[in-house]
């Protein structure tokens, strides 16, 4: 994801505002820190099978709730499982949720937003629906939906997408409403470009900047939502070691084995923080009004 962001960013920087990625990184320490953390965590997730010295699911009843040691860097949980291995492995699950949500919400949000922003009738209908969707407090809607659909990793991803998409659609729609008035869209119309091509070539690519910012926000919030759902007992099924589940299962042991919930919690917070920092950096970069604000 981080790599992808960096790649996109280069494109954004190149195509848009004329700021090179490296200059950006030099001048934006928060962005650089966020991106670096995201890259590290992603790397960790990718090479998880290599760096974990224990099976994340491997039980060792004799070594229950052992504090961190040379053998078990982050200690063991109530089943004697290696918390380090689980945390590293959990990065895969949590990042998968986050990346899926960010990607799906972006694609769906841009698709709907572009169409809606360009069609008055669709816009009227869609905006009423979106207003309705956004009238629900997100976590509570997510809870109700997961309760209805049942707990599975895919359902959790789907539900988070459902609650996040309206916000993205709104942003894209707003962009499209202003973009469609741009002279280059007129130019495209004037040369007879068919509407689908205008949407695809002229409008959609120009929504990338805010979509990128927003998707980095959703990237972080998806991790938090997943963990909150798991904590409340309806999220990712308990046998999947997502960070939310590891913390959720470890919370019962905070008084005798704080490390079980502590380390994955730190990783989770750090990743969300990193995603937010990247989002902030992108926002600063892409919103000229805020540039130089810090």
């Amino acid at each position: 994801m981080a790599v992808e962001v960096a790649g996109r960013l280069r494109q954004v920087a190149a195509a848009g505002q004329g700021i090179g990625l490296w200059r950006l990184i030099r001048t934006r320490t928060t962005f650089a820190a966020g991106a670096a953390i995201l890259i590290l965590v992603s790397l960790m997730a990718i090479i998880a099978p290599v760096i974990q010295r224990h099976d994340p699911q491997g039980l060792s009843p004799v070594d229950r709730v052992e504090p961190p040691s040379a053998q078990h860097w982050f200690g063991t949980d109530h089943l004697g499982r290696d918390v380090y291995a689980r945390t590293v492995h959990g990065a895969r699950i949590s990042l998968r949720v986050a990346a899926s949500v960010a990607l799906i919400v972006s694609i769906v949000g841009v698709t709907i937003g572009v169409v809606v922003g360009y069609n008055r009738i669709a816009d009227n209908i869609a905006m009423r629906l979106l207003d309705g969707m956004m009238a629900f407090p997100t976590l509570i809607l997510a809870l109700a939906l997961v309760a209805t659909l049942g707990s599975s990793l895919n359902n959790v991803i789907m539900v988070i997408c459902i609650v996040d998409t309206p916000g993205m659609v709104r942003i894209v729609r707003g962009m499209v409403l202003s973009l469609r008035e741009r002279p280059y869209v007129d130019a495209a119309r004037a040369i007879g470009t068919p509407l689908p091509m205008i949407l695809l070539r002229e409008i959609a690519p120009n929504t990338i900047a805010p979509v990128l910012v927003q998707s980095s926000v959703y990237f972080g919030s998806a991790i938090l939502t997943e963990s909150a759902l798991s904590f409340l007992g309806v999220g990712t099924p308990p046998y999947i070691p997502s960070w939310g589940n590891i913390i959720g299962q470890g919370r019962a042991y905070i008084q005798v084995g704080f490390w079980i919930a502590f380390f994955p919690g730190v990783f989770l917070a750090l990743t969300v923080l990193a995603a937010n920092l990247v989002g902030d950096g992108l926002r600063d970069l892409l919103d000229p009004r805020l540039r130089g604000a810090r």
């Binding site: 195509a15 848009g16 280059y184 130019a187 119309r189 040369i191 068919p194 070539r201």
Partner: protein
């Protein structure tokens, strides 16, 4: 740079394309009684129409093949809307726009698309008119893609590169993004795009007004070169008379949705009739000896009135230096004061005897 002659676009892809021929018998573009009214509504659930903004209100003119018509007016006069109406970017609420004998207003989607090949456009804002996410090559080549004017990628690339050279850009620049070009270069890109599909008419919507003066001249020279080379007709929209002076054959002056005066270029500059035209001429910083400054600078009072509530009678009377009470009662007609000169002002001597202008149907 402009005089550098590159090989003319050799493309024969537009095989069906009829080259612009100076057929005096029929104007290339004929605008008849064009009206563009925007409804103004109020109310939250039950929207009711409380009036309309008459951006363009009964405009007539025509452009012959190979000719340039300058369309001049302050911002808000409706000149840009007129251009957009011709391009069908804004749908007219009334009147006819005959291009090559076809009424653009009544064309269906695919017929209109076919017709659009023949009408190019260059916009005012050279940066805003270029998609920042597309390369210069993609931008210039877009009409070729839209109208499927090439048979192979290589041919397409060659075509785009030749367009670049035609407008005085380096062929190696096709991969750059708009922000990597200077303002003048960007406008050259706009011109290249307008020419790509070999149009017969190009609408130039204030193509140079956002450029530095020195660059303005370059672009205008380029446009003139291209006009001669490709036998183009231009509708040159501008907000002051100085710019269109060099390039136009004829000039029409608009005020609040109406044409208030039209004339042959030399006639207009030499002998403006309408007080508005006079005001514009006096305001224009024309370092040109041809224009004789007959009087001191005329300064117009106030701003252009809201087109939502246009003044009664002559719409110009609120700012007119020579207005009389009657001006607020009578709507002046555009009347002919010479073979190629018409104006809409009752204060012009001889208004009562002049015959109504019918030139809009044939020629200005």
């Amino acid at each position: 740079m402009i005089t550098q002659t590159s090989t003319p676009p050799t493309t024969q892809t537009g095989a069906s394309h009829t080259p612009a021929v100076l057929e005096q018998s029929r104007p290339l573009l004929e605008v008849r009684n064009l009206q563009v009214h925007f409804p103004v509504t109020r109310g939250f659930i039950l929207q009711r129409r409380i009036g309309s903004i008459k951006a363009v209100d009964g405009v007539n003119f025509s452009i012959n093949p190979g000719e340039t018509l300058g369309l001049v007016g302050e911002s808000g006069s409706g000149k840009t809307t007129t251009g957009r109406a011709i391009l069908q970017l804004t749908r007219p609420t009334g009147g006819e726009i005959l291009f090559d004998g076809h009424d653009l207003v009544n064309l269906n989607g695919s017929e209109l698309r076919k017709m659009r090949r023949s009408i190019g456009v260059v916009f005012q804002d050279p940066y805003g008119a270029l998609n920042p996410r597309a390369t210069a090559g993609q931008i210039v080549g877009a009409p070729l893609v839209v109208h499927k004017l090439h048979e192979s990628k290589a041919e397409y690339r060659k075509h785009v590169e030749s367009l670049f050279e035609t407008v005085g850009l380096n062929r190696s620049m096709t991969r750059r993004y708009p922000h990597e070009f200077s303002g003048g270069q960007r406008q050259r890109l706009g011109v290249a795009r307008a020419l790509a599909a070999r149009p017969r008419l190009v609408i130039l919507d204030e193509p140079v007004s956002s450029l530095d003066v020195s660059i303005q001249a370059q672009i205008i020279n380029l446009l003139q070169d291209l006009q001669a080379r490709f036998k183009l007709s231009y509708l040159f929209i501008a907000h002051d008379l100085s710019v269109v002076r060099h390039i136009s054959n004829r000039v029409a002056v608009m005020y609040l949705g109406k044409i208030v005066e039209t004339a042959d270029r030399n006639e207009l500059y030499r002998n403006p009739l309408h007080p508005y035209t006079k005001a514009l001429l006096s305001a224009a910083p024309v370092p040109d000896p041809i224009v004789e400054r007959k009087s001191a600078r005329i300064v117009l009072k106030g701003d252009i009135p809201s087109p939502l509530n246009p003044p009664s009678g002559c719409v110009f009377h609120t700012r007119c230096p020579i207005a009389v009470p009657e001006c607020s009662q009578t709507v002046p007609e555009l009347r002919q004061f010479g073979p190629l000169h018409a104006a809409a002002c009752i204060r012009v001597p001889g208004y009562g005897d002049a015959r109504p202008d019918s030139s809009g149907e044939k020629h200005v």
